[in-house]
Symmetry: C2
């Protein structure tokens, strides 16, 4: 028996002797079909306390719940926005009720059950008097919170708490709680707010889960049916939009199963991207686990070829080496697989979806487990030494219900002295939280951003920043094309900045190959972001013994019959060291433009490139980086920084370099090269200069582009890319300097 458990028992017994406890802790028996526990799990509790991760998780939950219990029962009349007292209090209430419920089952200590019951009773007393939240900022105002979304969170967590004390409560108490609070709240979130419940959207997933989980706990098959299949008659028109400007009624189907069918690609990629997938995954996995426990016939984890497990694997693969999600679309940076949603997802996926031992290593890093059957299983198998390291791999995740709406190409390369990862985005729009960033690139190195995706203009739950909600600069800057490492044509965002238009199209994978050690490559095309303009972008990571770290090749070809203005920005971090072109510095700073995000960029300096190789070198985190780009005579090079027209200082002040060109069809060819290092302690700088030279286009036609570059030692490298035929078995040949270069497949990389 662990020390902590014996201490608890000692304290408890001491309490008994003093008459301070009115019942002895005892194993719970289940008098109803629980969504969290079964008899076998409950029988394991004593043993489970000897598995360090489980014991520690119980101790953490106790510490959290007891801190909350010490504050007393606080169920305030709702008033505040996110970050404010009533908002945060109701949030803490549902989090602590859920944990207290589980602690009651695990420890048998009635104080936890009492706490949950007291809170539920206080809520039941308040609830009948509540109208919708006084702030009417949301398309679906909640009761406890400013938006139904948070109310649905409340129901998902509270259903779990109620499940734990269900048998312990009297029937009379249950009647009060169910009739005055829980059933009305379930109806409120569904029948009374169909625009919230009946969408294909993460909001509705939460609502479906809350309603369904309550239905399972109280054995109401009608509620469960409503949650799985949606409201039959929702009365919604097809024009209404939500706060993000996205259409409410975008599909005929509704309910949890429709979400599983329509929100994920066959690879488990979620249309809105990993930040929202992380948020959405919780109701998916926790409702699925509830169904599996209470209604195993549903075989929910087998549904759609095991889509739930795939969704969890997709999520953990959508992180950098430190577990932080790639911040594509609306995404606050720093969110990671350490979040409580991912703790649940990893535990539940392990327990119910295949016991992949690599998930155990993530659970070890998370350093906490769920206080239920899934968490016990994880803790037990870790204790048994079954964990294996999780290896981030290169992969493509397709987008779209059928996997035919483009996707995300993730390349990863581990060199001897450093790793490099690149993400090429050729997904569909991603609904209201999508950005106008077709074929945009982001680059990571050992968990840090090298070429950033700006992410969202929002400070979640920070009240000073417009109550923690979306800031207007998210629309006017962060979503716009110029905010991304993507090509902007004629200073306009993709799809003229229309989510509706963007939702009709997507980019497409052209080829993806991560099968070689020395080159990993992805190529994608877009034909709709700009009318009449075709783009192909190919990203390759290459490692070679002459370069100390992997380098990145970026070939972006644009096809147009008419002349356009092209802007290709690269958002870097750190201190600019040098450029090969002459910069004319701005004596007063003016915005780069007036719309499409340009109004938020200060023009700091401009220069004109000569034909040949233009280079910019910067230093970040005591490492050097050089971007070498193939310039045409007259290319404009701009150094700019975010933050113009930003009266509330809502944007970061981040630097970028932009290549601009007036042309019809043309190609932008660049190499990003991390190199060297610097120490502020020894003050030694090593490898501070770029080693790439002689970057040029060897050949270009409608069918091919072939480029060449050299290491300063003279070693020459060549890369040919097919532009029209991507067959893997196809043979190609081009003539370079009167010599034939032939190959099979969509690209050829050679050293000569």
């Amino acid at each position: 028996m662990s020390k902590t458990l014996s201490n608890i028992l000692l304290i408890t017994c001491f309490g008994l002797l003093l008459g301070a406890c009115d019942s002895s802790p005892k194993k719970q028996t289940l008098g109803h079909t629980s969504i969290l526990f079964d008899e076998a799990t409950i029988a394991q509790v004593d043993e489970a306390m000897s598995w360090p991760l489980f014991e520690q998780s119980v101790a953490e939950a106790k510490s959290f719940v007891e801190e909350q219990m010490a504050l007393g029962i606080q169920v305030p009349v709702p008033k505040d926005l996110a970050g404010g007292y009533t908002h945060e209090r109701h949030k803490l209430n549902y989090l602590s009720m859920q944990q207290a419920g589980k602690l009651f089952i695990i420890t048998g200590e009635e104080k936890y059950a009492q706490y949950v019951k007291d809170l539920l009773m206080a809520y039941a007393e308040l609830y009948p008097s509540l109208d919708r939240h006084p702030s009417r900022k949301s398309y679906s105002p909640g009761k406890f919170f400013w938006q139904c979304l948070n109310d649905a969170n409340w129901l998902v967590y509270t259903s779990q708490a109620y499940d734990c004390i269900y048998d312990w409560m009297s029937e009379e108490e249950r009647n009060i709680v169910e009739s005055k609070l829980l059933r009305p709240q379930a109806d409120f979130l569904s029948i009374e707010t169909p625009q919230f419940f009946n969408r294909i959207h993460n909001h509705s997933t939460w609502a479906n889960a809350g309603v369904g989980m309550l239905g399972l706990v109280i054995g109401d098959t009608l509620l469960v049916h409503r949650s799985l299949y949606g409201l039959e008659d929702d009365g919604l028109d097809t024009e209404t939009t939500d706060n993000d400007g996205a259409r409410i009624k975008n599909q005929e189907r509704a309910g949890f199963l429709a979400q599983l069918d329509l929100l994920f690609s066959p690879d488990g990629f979620y249309a809105e991207g990993p930040y929202y997938q992380r948020y959405a995954i919780y109701p998916f996995v926790v409702f699925a686990a509830s169904l599996q426990n209470a209604k195993p016939d549903q075989k929910i984890f087998e549904y759609r070829d095991g889509i739930l497990g795939k969704a969890v694997y997709a999520l953990v693969n959508l992180t950098d080496e430190e577990g932080e999600f790639f911040p594509i679309n609306d995404a606050q940076k720093g969110m990671s697989y350490y979040s409580r949603e991912l703790i649940s997802a990893v535990n539940i996926a392990y327990h119910f979806a295949g016991q992949n031992p690599e998930l155990l290593s993530i659970a070890q890093k998370q350093n906490t487990v769920l206080l239920d059957a899934a968490g016990m299983h994880v803790a037990k198998d870790i204790e048994a030494g079954m964990s294996q390291p999780f290896a981030h791999k290169s992969m493509e995740l397709t987008d779209g219900t059928d996997g035919n709406s483009g996707g995300l190409g993730i390349l990863r390369m581990k060199g001897e002295t450093g790793s490099l990862s690149a993400v090429l985005k050729y997904t569909a729009q991603g609904m209201g939280h999508g950005h106008f960033d077709k074929l945009s690139l982001s680059v990571y190195q050992e968990g840090a951003e090298v070429l950033q995706d700006y992410g969202v203009a929002r400070f979640v739950n920070i009240e000073q920043k417009d109550g923690g909600g979306y800031l207007s600069e998210n629309q006017t800057f962060a979503k716009q094309t110029i905010a991304h490492n993507a090509l902007v044509v004629n200073r306009q965002s993709h799809y003229t900045g229309s989510t509706e238009l963007g939702s009709q199209y997507h980019s497409d994978r052209f080829f993806f190959d991560a099968g070689n050690e020395d080159i990993k490559i992805v190529s994608a095309k877009d034909a709709h972001a700009y009318e009449g303009i075709g783009q192909q972008r190919t990203i390759a990571l290459i490692q070679d013994e002459l370069f100390e770290k992997p380098i990145l090749i970026d070939v972006l070809s644009v096809a147009s019959e008419s002349k356009n203005h092209y802007d290709l920005p690269y958002y870097y971090f750190g201190q600019l060291l040098s450029t090969t072109w002459e910069n004319k510095i701005a004596e007063t700073l003016r915005p780069l433009g007036e719309s499409d995000g340009y109004q938020h960029l200060w023009m700091e300096a401009q220069g004109t490139a000569s034909a040949g190789n233009s280079k910019i070198t910067w230093m970040d985190r005591n490492q050097f980086y050089t971007l070498s780009t193939l310039s045409l005579e007259g290319d404009q090079m701009t150094l700019a920084r975010t933050g113009a027209n930003d009266p509330k200082f809502n944007l970061r002040r981040d630097p970028m370099v932009m290549i601009s060109r007036e042309d019809a069809s043309t190609s932008f060819v660049s190499i990003l090269e991390p190199h060297g290092s610097y120490s502020t302690v020894s003050e030694l700088s090593q490898g501070a200069s770029s080693q790439v030279q002689g970057l040029k286009i060897l050949f270009e036609s409608e069918e091919y582009i072939a480029i060449e570059w050299q290491h300063i030692s003279g070693q020459t490298y060549r890369l040919a890319i097919a532009k029209s035929n991507n067959g893997q078995e196809e043979s190609h040949q081009i003539k370079i300097e009167n010599k034939l270069w032939d190959w099979k497949g969509s690209y050829s990389y050679i050293k000569i």
Copy 2:
């Protein structure tokens, strides 16, 4: 015997069997008076290899030296500036010679001696043909390097290498090396370059040490005398200045003993500040250790009441909690007690100056020791468990030869949930590397900067940034008053920006008290930075149970008979969240002014404060900070950022907030309050709002200023500060709201 050592012996014996070694490793015996070793130390070598830190340090040195040996003997004709090949090669040569020499003594392996001899012979062959370095950027061009300073470094390190192989070389070889290389180089650095040798300056300390150490090795008492007492007749005039604009001939005396007398305050504070003290400390301690080993009668570690040990203690106390030096004056950030100079200083101070066990904990963090008697002593005592944690304490370090030229007040407070440190600078000018920053403030928290000192505008050894040298923006921005958290009067820097004028004056401590748990306080005055204007700034750290973290009080009173324009900037880091005043945002950015550093600041927004409390809240490293300041009606609040008029992007883009006021005598009263926390993983924000309110001046006269503030709970705090009488035993009284407040000493802090 350790595994590594036995492996080495095994390999060596194997080499012998193959006939690959021409001599067996053997204990060295000393045939001359060594500056590094004595017989007792050499007798300990085998045992020393069982002390992990020593063994590991030997292994690291071998790895470094053998990597260098593998590159062959490279003694190129000098050509490049810092960062370039010839510069870095000559630097690596002296570093590897020194380590190779010590490895020869410790291991007895002749390959190390051979490597040193081969390098010395190559240098001896090249040397007679060398003129001064072709780049004439320095006031004292060297032979191997662009400045004599690096040549003096070379001699300090090379003398140690030569000491190690002296007995192993033949007399004939020694004659070649001494007559063609070492003696000419010692004369070059002294007699031939008196403007370099005969100053009171860190440059001359290196020259003194190099010449003296060579003299000790070769037993030349004239060289030793020259190093200790300087050149008798240097022929220098009193007008010549160096590259920093500082006068060459600033003192009558010269030589090592004069440096010890004149460069340090009695507390061991070095006039130029910790960054240069770190650099300068190496020749001080290594020459002192050499003297102690070879000429113990000199009793150098007892000189001036043990000034050398004090200098080392001052240095380690001039760091934040992560060991990084406070970046006052010209200082590159990130330099720390992990530097090789501090490894030597800590080892030598421990061995020769008192064996303070707290130094051992720093040596443990440094994780390497010197390969000599001092390093062995440290490794041995750590192995014996004698190490004690180094505790950063609040302290004052006086400046000036007699300790009468102001000083530096360092306050540190460890709260339950966070620490806070503040540095108030009231030193003298600090020679050519000094900044115009009288009474400037910098604030640190758990090793991170909260209110920054900009530091230097320089990227040491990064060739792209003007060869790694001082950038012009160092003079035009970083040294100027507006670049600091200090009061600027009429938009002019202190002393009209003249180092010469500044060198005639200093600020003064008024009082310093770190003796209480709940308040630590320092107050200083300046009367010369601006003619006819007196300033007093008082900084207090206060902890109180109602505030989760310590807070900082800043009271700056300025006395002037005429009306002036006052600007008081605070340079913070991170994301601005909110201000209580209305900001008018700049639609185009213009510099704040045209000179004195203002030309390098972009004006981002301005607003007018109302009378009362003005607040600005920002977030950095997932923590909140609020600066509450007492505004008078009409105070201008400016948000600005560095980076204007910066054609080479030599400056960082850092934000600041500035309070501006037109007035004669007035006081600026502010509270800096770190509060709360944010997690990007849980997205919970806690304590995001300031808890300070009601900040006001209760009483102000020529004798006193008394202020009051409250916690939002209503708890009231008061602080009275004496302005004219700082006697610790003095009684004071003022009348507030018709009640007497009396106290003894220079300040009174009460809760009411």
